[in-house]
Subunit: 236 residues, 2 copies
Amino acid sequence: MPSIDVCFSPDLLPLYNLKGKIAIAVDVLRATSSMVTALAHGITHIAPVRQLDECLAYKEQGYLVAAERDGVKADGFDLGNSPFHYQEESVRGKFLAMTTTNGTQAIQLSRAADEVLVGAFLNLGAVADYVKKANKDVVVVCAGWKGLFNLEDTLFAGALAERLEGHFTLDHDATLAAYHLYQTAKADLLGFLSKSSHVQRLERLHILPDIEFCLQEDVYDLVPVLQGDFLLIAQK
Amino acid sequence: MPSIDVCFSPDLLPLYNLKGKIAIAVDVLRATSSMVTALAHGITHIAPVRQLDECLAYKEQGYLVAAERDGVKADGFDLGNSPFHYQEESVRGKFLAMTTTNGTQAIQLSRAADEVLVGAFLNLGAVADYVKKANKDVVVVCAGWKGLFNLEDTLFAGALAERLEGHFTLDHDATLAAYHLYQTAKADLLGFLSKSSHVQRLERLHILPDIEFCLQEDVYDLVPVLQGDFLLIAQK
């Protein structure tokens, strides 16, 4: 039976051997939630890039460019990190380049894996179905916050572990922790997270509607997969 | 109100500013449990050292020397990492030098803090009382397993957070995670941990009595504190 493991910080990723495995990069608030939303609403390609200048350079090639640093849209970019930005009719059919504080870094650092997927509560069931079919070991790569552990990405890992129970082994310590935390939190994810100083900091940016949106499970039935420089919708 | 934060891996410690704070190094299975036990049973000084050869050099100075690597006693040393080794009458009054896979590293890496304490379930209440009196920010430094997150050190952090509730803020994400995991686990710590592949690996070393011993709360009313090169019992 394949296993599901969880890496709580990109800074710990050097300790994980990703070869032969599927990495699932997750930054629930809000990068990977926005990416899933963007692909669901007609963005066809997303280039996840690490640096602001690298991202801005895509603009000359006709891309929409999106950038977030410390929770707010960076100057000179078309879009920020809110999933609502990606539900507009105007984005349909466009290419997007995106850089965020944590999420795009986690994706790039996961490249040693056989496949890199993007996960969020919004596409939880689709990700679970995809990895069950692939039947390979999985590592959930939590973007965290500037290298620190965060609760919301951990809860996603726990939710995924629950969906994979019986098909994957859950006996890594990080997986068990995530699984049990999700059991405690799942009846009221927002209420659970609202005690967190990290989430309170996000709430002070007046993005509570974003947070509520990002905590919904199974809104979109698609899995973004990294192919070369781009995230595309995986073929079923 | 001061805060309690939790660092899940020594590899993440560079992200924490320990200046002005109290660090509590914890390696429940078994280094810090053995250290607390040793001081309770009459060892007067413990030198926590990182390297095997550095530790062995203390033998010429008349120290007892203890070393564990990958869960077993290293060749040429007097003692291993079992708390039962330190309950013998023969250790009373001795100096001890000790190196372990994870625990002694966590102690040395915590030196940037104002004070470095050693915590375990065995002295949980004593540690809680000490930091309440000190009234400074606290960071629990989990030794983990070779840089990876582990459950038992996290549960200690959660137990300490519970004891400090009302006196310290618990709103860091790592602290909330540890706190909630302890709430889930506390009725049966051993049962909770027994699903972990990491703890199963320890059980295969036939140290189940060690594990049961180390999961007892409030057995010893003392706090080891690092003074120069030595852990000593803190003055009340």
